[in-house]
C-alpha cells in the first residue's frame, strides 16, 4: 500500500526519469526543434527554418491557440474542461469589429468592453459549474452554442471587415498595431502578447496562493474543501480567467485578420486542449504547468511549420499532429505516480 522513501539507492536511480516526465513537452520540443533544423530546406546556404523571421512566424501562428491554452491549462488543472473558448474567441472578434467599425468606439473602450464580455461569460459558466454543480463539459458545450449564436446575431451572420482611418465606419489606426511587428520589425505583436500572457501565467502559477488552491482542487477537491480552500470561488475565478483570455485571443484574431468572423475559432478549443495535453497536464487535474503548455503549443507550431516548409500535404500534417497527441498522452500513462 505504501512505499517508504528512505531507500537511498532507489532515490538516486530514479532522478533522471521524473525529470524527463515532468518536462516531457520541453524534451519533445527540443527533439522536434532539432529534427526541424536537420530537415529544414536550404536557401542560399541558409536554413530557412532557423531564419529569425520564420521563428517568430511560428510564435505568431500559435499565439491565439497559445493564449487560449493558458486559460485552458488552469481549467484542466482543476479537473474541468472548457469547450466554449473557440466560440468565445469568435464572439470577441465580432464584438471587436462591430464596436470599432459600427459603433465608432475608441481602441481602449473596445478592448475593455470585449474583455469584460469574455470575463462575464466565463464567470457565468463558472457559477453554473461550481455553484449549481452542473458538469463543466455540459455547461461549456452549451456555452459554445450560446457564444456562437450571440456572435452570429451581433454580426448579422456576416464577417465584419475592419478598415483603418478617421472617417465614420473606419477603425482607429492604432488598432492596426496588432498586424504589425515590433523590435525592429522582428517580433509580431500577437506573438508578443502571447509571450507576455504566458510569462505572467508561469510566474503567477508558481508564486500565488491562488495557484496552490487550483492545484489542490485538481488533486483532491474534497480534501481541498475540508482544508478551507474556497473551492467554489476558485472554480468560478478559473472559468472567468479562461473566458477573459479567450476574449483577448479574439481581439488579437480580429486585429491580425482585419475582420470579425462570427464562425471563426471553431475547433480552436480542441487545439488548445491538445496543447495542454502535449504539455503534460493531466486531464484528471492537479498535475501540470503553463510552462508545459507553452512548450506543447510551440511543439505543434514548429511541427506544422517544418512540415509546411517541406511542402508536406496538409492532410498528412493532421495525421502527424494526431500521432503526437497520442504519444504525449501515452507518455503520461507511463509516468510514475511520484512525478507531480
Amino acid at each position: 500500500m505504501s512505499v517508504e522513501l528512505d531507500e537511498p539507492v532507489r532515490e538516486r536511480r530514479s532522478e533522471f526519469l521524473p525529470a524527463l516526465f515532468r518536462f516531457q513537452s520541453l524534451f519533445g520540443l527540443v527533439l522536434v526543434f532539432v529534427a526541424a533544423v536537420l530537415y529544414s530546406p536550404h536557401k542560399n546556404g541558409q536554413l530557412l527554418f532557423l531564419d529569425s523571421g520564420n521563428l517568430f512566424n511560428v510564435v505568431r501562428s500559435i499565439s491565439e491557440i497559445g493564449i487560449l491554452a493558458v486559460g485552458m491549462t488552469l481549467v484542466i488543472l482543476i479537473g474541468a474542461i472548457d469547450l466554449s473558448v473557440g466560440a468565445v474567441l469568435g464572439l470577441a472578434s465580432v464584438g471587436t469589429a462591430a464596436l470599432l467599425v459600427r459603433d465608432g468606439l475608441g481602441v481602449v473602450p473596445v478592448v475593455v468592453i470585449v474583455l469584460a464580455i469574455g470575463l462575464g461569460f466565463g464567470l457565468l459558466q463558472g457559477v453554473a459549474i461550481a455553484t449549481f454543480g452542473i458538469q463543466a463539459f455540459i455547461v461549456t458545450l452549451a456555452g459554445m452554442q450560446i457564444a456562437r449564436g450571440l456572435a452570429r446575431i451581433w454580426s448579422g451572420g456576416q464577417a465584419i471587415g475592419i478598415t483603418y482611418g478617421d472617417r465614420p465606419g473606419q477603425a482607429p489606426v492604432a488598432f492596426s498595431l496588432l498586424g504589425e511587428r515590433t523590435f525592429g520589425g522582428l517580433v509580431p505583436i500577437p506573438a508578443l502578447i502571447f509571450i507576455v500572457v504566458a510569462a505572467l501565467a508561469v510566474v503567477l502559477l508558481r508564486v500565488s496562493a491562488f495557484s496552490r488552491h487550483v492545484y489542490a482542487i485538481g488533486g483532491n477537491e474534497k480534501a481541498a474543501r475540508l482544508s478551507g480552500v474556497p473551492v467554489t470561488r476558485v472554480k468560478i475565478a478559473v472559468f472567468g480567467i479562461c473566458g477573459l483570455l479567450a476574449a483577448l485571443a479574439g481581439i488579437v484574431h480580429a486585429g491580425r485578420l482585419n475582420f470579425g468572423g462570427p464562425n471563426d475559432g471553431g475547433g480552436y478549443e480542441l487545439d488548445a486542449i491538445a496543447a495542454v495535453v502535449i504539455g503534460g497536464t493531466s486531464l484528471t487535474g492537479g498535475r501540470g504547468s503553463v510552462a508545459g503548455t507553452v512548450a506543447g503549443a510551440l511543439l505543434v507550431g514548429v511541427l506544422r511549420n517544418i512540415l509546411a516548409l517541406r511542402n508536406v500535404d496538409a492532410n498528412i500534417q493532421l495525421l502527424v499532429i494526431g500521432l503526437v497527441i497520442v504519444l504525449a498522452a501515452g507518455l503520461q500513462q507511463l509516468r510514475p505516480a511520484s512525478v507531480s
Binding site: 500500500m1 505504501s2 512505499v3 517508504e4 522513501l5 528512505d6 532515490e11 508564486v207 500565488s208 496562493a209 491562488f210 496552490r212 488552491h213 492545484y215 489542490a216 485538481g218 488533486g219 483532491n220 474534497k222 480534501a223 481541498a224 474543501r225 475540508l226 482544508s227 478551507g228 480552500v229 474556497p230 492537479g286 498535475r287 505516480a337 511520484s338 507531480s340
Partner: protein, 517 residues
Amino acid sequence: MSETAVPLVEMIGVSKSFGGVRAVAGADFTVREGEVHALLGENGAGKSTLMKVLSGEVGGYRGEIRIGGEPVRFTSPADAQRAGVAMIHQELDLVPALSVAENVFLGREPKTAFGTVDRRRVVTETAALLERTGVTLDPRRPVEHLRTGEQQLVTIVKALSLDARILVMDEPTSALSVHEVERLFTVIGGLRRAGAGIVYISHRMEEIGRVADRATVLRNGRVVAEFDARAMTAAQASEAMVGRPVHLMFRGTGTATGEELLRVENLAVRRPRPGLRDPAGVTLSVAEGEIVGLAGLLGSGRTELLETLFGVGAKGPWQGRVLLRGSRIRPRGPRHALKLGIAFVPEDRRIAGLALEHSVLANTVLSIVDRIARLGLVSRRAERNAARETTERLGVKLASLSGPVGSLSGGNQQKVVLGRNLLTEPRLLLLDEPTRGVDVGAKAEIYRLLGEAAARGLGVLLASSEPAELVGVCHRVVVLRDGRGMHELNTAEVSEADLLAASMGEGAVPGLTVGGA
C-alpha cells in the same frame, strides 16, 4: 437440534495469512440446516476473512471446508455459488439503472427462440422468487429507485435464484431503518424454515439475540467463545470480543481541564427527509485541554455530528444550539469553521484528507497558504519553513518535503493531515477515526501528539470505533446511537467491555450515567 445430521457447512482448522499477518488462525466453524449463526468480533478479528474463505473470494488458506459432508476447495466466488454458498456484501453489487428483475438475472438471462432476452420470463420468474421469499416489490422497478433495505432484499433474492443454501450476510442492517430491519428478519425467518443456513455478521447485540440461534466470537483470528445466542448477554459477548484487561495505552494528560470551550445543547439537524444518522438530539461539552470521545456503532452518527460541527453536515435548520467559548455559532463551511478556530481531521485521509500525488509540502501548508501569502503571493521559503517545522515537530518520517505524500506510510500520512490542521492554530480539534489503518507505533505517537495539543489548551473531540482507544485516550466518552447522545461515561471508571455494551444498547452497566442533561 439434531447433532447427528451432517452440518451444511463445516470449516475445520482454517488458517489464512496475508503477508506475515495471521488473519485467521485455526478456526472451526459450522452452520447447520435451518440455523442462523452469528459471527462476532472486533474490527480485524478475522470475521470477514473467514467468510471470504468460505465464499471463495480468498484462496490460499490452510484447513478444510466441507459442504454437506463433501470436502470442497473453492477457487472463485462463482465456484462457491455453484456449491450453494453466496455472500451478501455491505456494498451491494447491483446495477442501479437496471430493474429488479434484470439485476436478478444479470449475466444469465433466459433467451427467446430468436436469441433475444426473454423479458417476460425474467419478470415472471423474478416475481415468483419475490413471492416465495415474502418480499413485495415490483420486479420492473429500477434498483436505483429502491431504498437501501429493498436493495438488500434484491441481493438476497438474487442469491436465492442461484439456488444458494448458505447465505453469508455481512452487517446487513448497518444501513437499514427499523422498519426495514423487521422486514429483513421476516425474510430470514422464512429462509430458516426452508432449511437454509445463514451466517449473520453484526455488531448489534439486540439483533443477534432476536435473529440468531448460535453465536461464535472471533478474536485475533481464533474462535474464543461460542454462545447460545438467545441466552447470551451483551456484556458476555463484548468481554469475549475484547478478551483482555483494559489497556491504558495513553492516560495522564492530567485531569485538570480549563474553561468550557464547546457546548452542544440538544443539537438536531432537520431536513425534509431525515437521514438515520443526522444529529438527533446531542448534548455534550468539551473543555479546554480536554479530550472527549465519541463512541457508537457504525451508523450511530459520530461522523455526521463532527461534520455538522465543521459546517459540512446535512443541510437543514438546526435545533438546539452550539456555543464556542460562550458565543453561539453555526459554521457555514470549512473555511468559516477554520476561521472560528475549529479544525477537522476527516475519516478517510485518502479520500478526504490528502491530494496523494501532491508533495508533502503542498499538503501540509494547504490550509494556511493564503494566510502566509502577501498580496496573494506566497514566499517559497515561508511555505517550506512552515512545512519543515510542522513535519519535524510531528515526527513525520519522510525522504523529502517535495516527495508525494502518497508514498508515506499510513501513519505518516495521518500526521501530515494532523499537522495541516494544527498549523491553523485551532482551539477545537475534531478527529474522525484518526488511527484507522495506522500501525501501532504511529498510533502511540498520534496519541502523544493529541495529548500535547490538549496540554496546550486545545479541546479535542475524538470519534472512534475502537473502545480501547476511547478508554485509553479520552477523559470522558459520549456514546451515540441513532444520532442521539445516549450516555456519558467517565473513562476512569469504565472498561472497554462496558463501553462496547453501552454502544450496543445494554443499559445496565456500572459507571454509566444517562446523558442529555
